[in-house]
C-alpha cells in the first residue's frame, strides 16, 4: 500500500478519489475511468472492503458515469485480488443491473458475463448463481430482464440440481407478466438453447419458443423469430418439420406486419438454418408472399434479401426457382407504389445478374434495370448506378449505356444538392467501367460543370472527383482534357471560381506529376498572387505550400519563393499569415518571426474554424471594404449564405 512512498504519489490519487463525487459530471466520469488507478493505489484489500461498498451504493449518478463504472468493473478481477475474490465485484454490478437505463443494465450484464468466466465452479454456485436467482425473482422488471442474459453463462458450469433450477427460472421469466421481461427472455432464448443439453432443447425450449411465438404482444412474437434461427440450427433436420416449421409458417403469416417484417429481415439466416429441402418446399412460397405483402415495410425488407436468398438457394435447381417463382415477384416490385421498396430492390437487383448468367440477364433483368434507371425517384436510379459493377462483369456496360447516360445527366442536374453529391461519388467508378472514350464524349462536361456549382460541397467533391479520374486515366489524359479547362477558370470574373482553380491544382498536382505542375499549373498560381481578392491571394499561398513537394528545388527557389515573400508583406493580415506559414512549411530554414506568429495567432484561431477553404470572415468592416472595392456581383448577405453552405 501507498503511504510510505511520500506525498507526491498520493496526491493525484487523493484528487481522483475526491472527484468521484465532484459536482461536475465530467470530472466524476474522468475519475471513474481511472478507477483502476485508484484501486491499484488502495491495494486489493482496501478495494474490496472500502471502494467496492462505496461504489455499490453510488447508483444515483448520471447514465454516462454508471455506464463507465459498469464497464470498468468487468476488468477488475486482478484489482480485487484475482479469481479467488472475483465475487466481491458482484454486489456493485448487481445494483447496476437493476437501474432503469437499458444501456447501463446491458453493460452491467456484459461485465457480469465476463467475470462469470473467472469464477471457480464452486464460487459460481455459491456466489454467482444466487445473484442470478435474486435478479430473476426481483420485484422490478429491470432486474428480471437483466437475469435473462445471465442464465446461459452459468448453466454449463453448475451441478445438475442447480441446472434444473435455472431452467425453471427461465421458464418462469418466459411467461412473466411484463412484456419487457418476456422480450428479454425471447431475445436470449436462442443463446440459452445453445448451452442446454439436447434432450432439454426438445422438452423445454420448444414449448417456450412456441409460447413466445404466439404471445399476445407482437413486440414479443417478433423476437421469437430471431430465436427460431438458433433453435433450428440446434435441432436435427428430421425434427425441424414438426418442431419449428409450424411456428415459422405462422410467423411468416402473422397478423402483425412487424412480425412479418422480422421474418423478412432474418430470411437469409432462416434459410441457412433450416436447410435446402425445407427452403424449397416452404420458404420459397413464404418469400413470394413477403415480396407481395400488403405492407410496404415488409416488402422493402424482403426486397433487400432478394439477392442473398437467390444466392443461397440449392444449386441444382436454383435457376429454375428464380425464373419461375422469384422473378415474377421482382418484376412487380419494380413498379411498386412505394419508393422505399423500389430503392431497396434497386440496391440488390443487379446482383441477380451474376447468379442468372448472361442470357437471362439480357432477356429478363435488363428491361428491369432500364425501367429502374428511368424511375422518378432519384434514390432508385442512384442505387442502380452504384451497383453497375455486377452487371459489367456479366454483360458489359455497353448494353446499358444508352439508358445510363440520360439517367446520369438527370441526376447530375438534380435540384437537390445531396443527390448531385451522391452521383459525383460514383463518377470514378462509372468512368472506369465506361472507358475513357465514352467518358470524354459524354461525361466530361458534367464533371467540369460541377466545378462551378453554387454549392461548395459539390465544388469540393468535384475537385476530389477530378483527382480520382486522373489517377484512373493518367497524367497525359489530364493534360489534354481537364488541365486546360481548370486553368482557364483562373480568369473567371467570379472569385469563387478562381479559387476552385486553386483547389483543383492542390488536388491534381500530385497525380499529374512534376512536369505538368511546374510547366502549366505553377505559372497560373503565381499569376493569381496579384488577384484583387484577398481570399484568392491567401489561397495562392496555401496552394504553393501544397504543391511545393511536387516542384523541383530550382522552381521553388527562383519562382515560388519571391512570390511568397511578396505575399508575406501583403497589406492583408491573413494573406501575410498564410504566406509566412507557406514559407516556413516549404523552406524550413526560414522560421517565421515569433512576433508575427503571435500577432496572427488570434486571427489564426478564428480562421481555423471558419475558413480553411471557403471565403473567410475577418473583421466585417474590412471585409466589406474589400468586397466593395472588388466590385463583385454579390451582396453581403449573399456572401454569408454561401458561407453557410460551405459549412
Amino acid at each position: 500500500m501507498a503511504g510510505a512512498d511520500g506525498d507526491d504519489s498520493l496526491y493525484p490519487i487523493a484528487v481522483l478519489i475526491d472527484e468521484l463525487r465532484n459536482e461536475d459530471v465530467q470530472l466524476r466520469l474522468n475519475s471513474i475511468k481511472k478507477l483502476s488507478t485508484i484501486a491499484l493505489a488502495l491495494g486489493v484489500e482496501r478495494t474490496r472492503t472500502e471502494l467496492l461498498p462505496f461504489l455499490t451504493d453510488t447508483i444515483y449518478d448520471e447514465d454516462e458515469v454508471l455506464l463507465a463504472l459498469a464497464e470498468q468493473l468487468g476488468n477488475f478481477t486482478m484489482l480485487v485480488g484475482g479469481p479467488e475474490y472475483v465475487h466481491c465485484l458482484l454486489p456493485p454490478l448487481e445494483s447496476l443491473a437493476t437501474v432503469e437505463e437499458t444501456v447501463v443494465r446491458d453493460k452491467a450484464v456484459e461485465s457480469l458475463r465476463k467475470i462469470s468466466q473467472e469464477h471457480s465452479p464452486v464460487d459460481l454456485e455459491v456466489h454467482f448463481e444466487p445473484l442470478v436467482k435474486r435478479l430473476a425473482s426481483g420485484d422490478w422488471f429491470t432486474s428480471r430482464t437483466s437475469a435473462c442474459g445471465l442464465f446461459s453463462v452459468c448453466y454449463p458450469r453448475v451441478s445438475s440440481t442447480v441446472k434444473a433450477e435455472i431452467r425453471q427460472h427461465f421458464r418462469t421469466l418466459c411467461s412473466d407478466d411484463t412484456p419487457m421481461v418476456r422480450r428479454a427472455a425471447a431475445s436470449k432464448l436462442g443463446e440459452f438453447a445453445k448451452v442446454l443439453e439436447p434432450e432439454y432443447v426438445k422438452s423445454d425450449i420448444i414449448s417456450l419458443f412456441t409460447a413466445l411465438a404466439s404471445d399476445e404482444q407482437d413486440s414479443v412474437r417478433l423476437l421469437a423469430v430471431e430465436a427460431c434461427v438458433s433453435i433450428a440450427t440446434l435441432l436435427p433436420q428430421e425434427d425441424l418439420e414438426t418442431l419449428v416449421m409450424p411456428t415459422l409458417r405462422q410467423a411468416a403469416e402473422d397478423k402483425s406486419w412487424r412480425v412479418r417484417y422480422m421474418v423478412a429481415d432474418k430470411f437469409s439466416e432462416l434459410q441457412k438454418a433450416v436447410g435446402s429441402e425445407i427452403t424449397k418446399n416452404d420458404l420459397v412460397p413464404a418469400f413470394q408472399n413477403l415480396l407481395k405483402d400488403c405492407e410496404a415495410e415488409v416488402r422493402a425488407a424482403a426486397a433487400n434479401k432478394v439477392k442473398e436468398f437467390c444466392e443461397n438457394l440449392p444449386e441444382d435447381n436454383r435457376e429454375q426457382i428464380i425464373m419461375t417463382h422469384i422473378l415474377p415477384c421482382v418484376k412487380e416490385l419494380v413498379s411498386d407504389t412505394n419508393q422505399h421498396v423500389k430503392s431497396a430492390l434497386a440496391s440488390v437487383i443487379m446482383g441477380l445478374s451474376t447468379i442468372l448468367g448472361k442470357d437471362n440477364t439480357i432477356e429478363h433483368l435488363l428491361p428491369l434495370f432500364l425501367a429502374q434507371l428511368k424511375d422518378e425517384c432519384p434514390e432508385v436510379r442512384l442505387n442502380i448506378i452504384s451497383n453497375l459493377d455486377c452487371v459489367n462483369e456479366v454483360i458489359g456496360i455497353r448494353q446499358l449505356s444508352q439508358s445510363l447516360l440520360p439517367a446520369i445527366v438527370e441526376l447530375a442536374e438534380d435540384a437537390k444538392w445531396r443527390v448531385r453529391l451522391a452521383i459525383i461519388e460514383y463518377m470514378p467508378l462509372l468512368a472506369g467501367q465506361l472507358g475513357v472514350e465514352f467518358f470524354d464524349e459524354k461525361l466530361n462536361t458534367l464533371c467540369m460543370a460541377w466545378l462551378i456549382d453554387h454549392v461548395y460541397a459539390i465544388r469540393e467533391a468535384a475537385t476530389c472527383n477530378l483527382m480520382k479520374l486522373v489517377e484512373k486515366f493518367g497524367a497525359e489524359w489530364a493534360q489534354n482534357t481537364i488541365v486546360p479547362k481548370v486553368l482557364g477558370m483562373a480568369n473567371d470574373p467570379n472569385y469563387l471560381h478562381r479559387m476552385t482553380t486553386l483547389f483543383c491544382i492542390n488536388a491534381l498536382s500530385e497525380a499529374c506529376g512534376q512536369e505538368i505542375t511546374t510547366k502549366q499549373m505553377l505559372p497560373v498560381v503565381l499569376k493569381m498572387s496579384n488577384d484583387q481578392v484577398a481570399n484568392v491571394r491567401f489561397n495562392v499561398a496555401k496552394s504553393l505550400q501544397k504543391i511545393g513537394p511536387v516542384l523541383d528545388s530550382n522552381a521553388l527557389q527562383t519562382e515560388v519563393k519571391p512570390v511568397l515573400e511578396k505575399l508575406a508583406t501583403d497589406s492583408d493580415m491573413d494573406v501575410k499569415y498564410f504566406a509566412q506559414e507557406a514559407i516556413s512549411g516549404t523552406f524550413c530554414f526560414h522560421p517565421p518571426s515569433t512576433k508575427s506568429l503571435n500577432f496572427n495567432l488570434l486571427n489564426f484561431l478564428f480562421l481555423f474554424f471558419l475558413c480553411s477553404s471557403g471565403p473567410r470572415i475577418t473583421i466585417p468592416n474590412q471585409q466589406l471594404k474589400a468586397e466593395i472595392s472588388c466590385k463583385q456581383n454579390y451582396t453581403f448577405t449573399g456572401y454569408l449564405l454561401m458561407f453557410r453552405n460551405n459549412w
Binding site: A2, E50, L51, D57, V99, W140, T142, E216, E295
Partner: protein, 446 residues
C-alpha cells in the same frame, strides 16, 4: 350514490399559492391530474409548467385515520415558456397531460407534455450521501497536500430523505400543432403523442426520431373539416389505439395491419338526430376526451353535454349515454358567447369500470353508476365541507319552482369549472381539480 360519501375532505393546493381561492394567479390553475398505476402517487400539472407529486401516507399505528392522506412528495418545474423563433410563436409552459409509467425500479417515471414537447421525468429518493474527503478536512477546509499521508475512501452515511426529479428524456420537434394527449403503450416500450392533426409513435428510449402513424392533414388546409381531439392506447392490446375527433366520431386503429394507421379498422359514430339539430350541434358533439375502460371492452367519450360508453364490438351507437348537464341545452347561446362551449371536459372510470365521473360548472362534478343507473352531482368547495362529513348531493333546478337546497341554472358560476378529475386505480379515492384547488375525496374506511 350511496357508496360514495366523503369521509375526509382533503384540500390540497399547489405550493406557493395564496390560500384564498379568489386571489390566485393564472399560473396556479391546475391543468391536469393523474394517479399512478398503484394509486400511491398523484401528480398534478399547472399552467405555470409545474408538476406537483403527492404521495399517500403509509398506515401508521399511532394515527390510523391518517391512512390515505396525500402529502406533497415532490415539486418541480417541468416546462418553461419558450419562443419558436422560426415561426414567431410563443410556446406556453402549461402542462397539458401527465402520464405515469408503470413502476420499473425504486424510482418513479412520468411523462409530461406542453403544447410541443414531451418530457420523461424520473422521481427518485436519495437517503445516503458520501462523507470524507482527502483534500478537505471535516469542516471543509482545504488540507495541505503535504499532510496527506494516507488515502480515504468516502463512506456513505444516512441523511434526510431527499426526493429528486430529473428530466431523463426530452421528446421534441415532432409536432407542428398543439399536443392534446399522450398515452403509454402496454408493451412498455412505446408511447404516442397526439396533436390536432397527427399521431406520433415514440420509443421511450429514443428521442431523436418518432414515427408518424396518423396524419389527417389535408393537402389543402382550407379543406380541413375535423381535428383530432384525444387519443389513447388500449390497456392490454399493445397494437390497438383509439382517437377521437371534433366531429364526434372515434376511430380505432390496429398497428399490426400497417405501419401507417391512416386507415382505421373501426369507426364509432352515432347518427345525428335531425330533431335536435341546431347551430351548435357540431360544436357540442366534439369529443373532448376518450378513455378505454380498464378491462379494455369499452370506450368512454365525453362531449359537451354527455358522456357516452361504446362497446368495442358495436360501432353504430353507444351502449350507454349519460346526460351531464342537460339543463345547459337552453343556454348554449350565452355559453357560446363566453367561450365556455369550447371547454374540454375530461372523464374517468373507477377501478372496476362500474362508475363514471366527469366535471361540470359551478365546481360540480357528476358520477354515474352504470349498474344501478343512478347518478349524483357533487360539489368541490371548501365553504360547505366539514371534515369527516358526508358530501351532500347537489341539485340544479330545471323547472320554474326552486326547492330548498336547489340551485337555479341562472345562478351557476361558469368560471368555476371542473375539467380534470382522476380516480384511484383500485380504491374509491378521487382527485378533483377545481381551478387552482385540488380536492381529494375518499369513501368510508371500513
Amino acid at each position: 350514490m350511496k357508496c360514495f360519501s366523503r369521509y375526509l375532505p382533503y384540500l390540497f393546493r399547489p405550493p406557493s399559492t395564496i390560500l384564498s381561492s379568489t386571489c390566485h394567479t393564472e399560473a396556479d390553475i391546475i391543468s391536469t391530474v393523474e394517479f399512478n398505476s398503484t394509486g400511491e402517487l398523484l401528480a398534478t400539472g399547472d399552467k405555470g409548467g409545474r408538476v406537483v407529486v403527492f404521495q399517500r401516507e403509509q398506515e401508521s399505528k399511532s394515527q390510523p385515520h391518517r391512512r390515505g392522506e396525500y402529502n406533497v412528495y415532490s415539486t418541480f418545474q417541468s416546462h418553461e415558456p419558450e419562443f419558436d423563433y422560426l415561426k414567431s410563436l410563443e410556446i406556453e409552459e402549461k402542462i397539458n397531460k401527465i402520464k405515469w409509467l408503470p413502476q420499473q425500479n425504486a424510482a418513479y417515471f412520468l411523462l409530461s407534455t406542453n403544447d410541443k414537447t414531451v418530457k420523461l421525468w424520473k422521481i427518485s429518493e436519495r437517503d445516503k450521501r458520501p462523507e470524507g474527503y482527502n483534500l478537505k478536512d471535516e469542516d471543509g477546509r482545504i488540507r495541505d497536500p503535504s499532510t496527506i499521508t494516507s488515502l480515504r475512501v468516502p463512506v456513505l452515511q444516512p441523511m434526510d430523505l431527499m426526493v429528486e426529479a430529473t428530466a431523463r428524456r426530452i421528446f421534441s420537434n415532432a409536432h407542428t400543432y398543439h399536443i392534446n394527449s399522450i398515452s403509454v403503450n402496454s408493451d412498455l416500450q412505446t408511447f404516442i403523442s397526439t396533436d390536432d392533426l397527427r399521431v406520433n409513435l415514440w420509443n421511450l428510449e429514443i428521442t431523436d426520431r418518432s414515427f408518424n402513424i396518423v396524419d389527417i392533414k389535408p393537402a389543402n388546409m382550407e379543406e380541413l373539416t375535423e381535428v383530432i381531439t384525444s387519443a389513447e392506447f388500449h390497456p392490454q392490446q399493445c397494437h390497438t389505439f383509439a382517437y377521437s375527433s371534433s366531429k364526434g366520431s372515434i376511430r380505432l386503429c390496429d398497428m399490426r395491419l400497417a405501419a401507417l394507421c391512416d386507415k382505421h379498422c373501426k369507426y364509432f359514430e352515432e347518427p345525428e338526430d335531425p330533431a335536435t339539430r341546431s347551430f351548435f350541434s357540431e360544436i357540442i358533439s366534439s369529443i373532448s376526451d376518450v378513455k378505454f375502460s380498464h378491462n379494455g371492452r369499452y370506450l368512454m367519450t365525453r362531449d359537451y353535454l354527455t358522456v357516452k360508453v361504446w362497446d368495442l364490438q358495436m360501432e353504430n351507437k353507444p351502449v350507454e349515454t349519460y346526460q351531464v348537464h342537460d339543463y345547459l341545452r337552453g343556454k348554449l347561446c350565452s355559453l357560446y358567447e363566453n367561450d365556455c362551449i369550447f371547454d374540454k371536459f375530461e372523464c374517468v372510470w373507477n377501478g372496476s369500470d362500474s362508475v363514471i365521473m366527469t366535471g361540470s360548472y359551478n365546481n360540480f362534478f357528476r358520477m354515474f353508476d352504470r349498474n344501478t343507473k343512478r347518478d349524483v352531482t357533487l360539489e368541490a368547495s371548501r365553504e360547505n365541507s366539514k371534515p369527516r362529513a358526508i358530501l351532500k348531493p347537489r341539485k340544479v333546478c330545471v323547472g320554474g319552482k326552486r326547492r330548498k337546497d336547489e340551485i337555479s341554472v341562472d345562478s351557476l358560476d361558469f368560471s368555476k369549472k371542473i375539467l380534470h378529475t382522476t380516480w384511484h386505480p383500485h380504491e374509491n379515492i378521487i382527485a378533483v381539480a377545481a381551478t387552482n384547488n385540488l380536492y381529494i375525496f375518499q369513501d368510508k374506511v371500513n
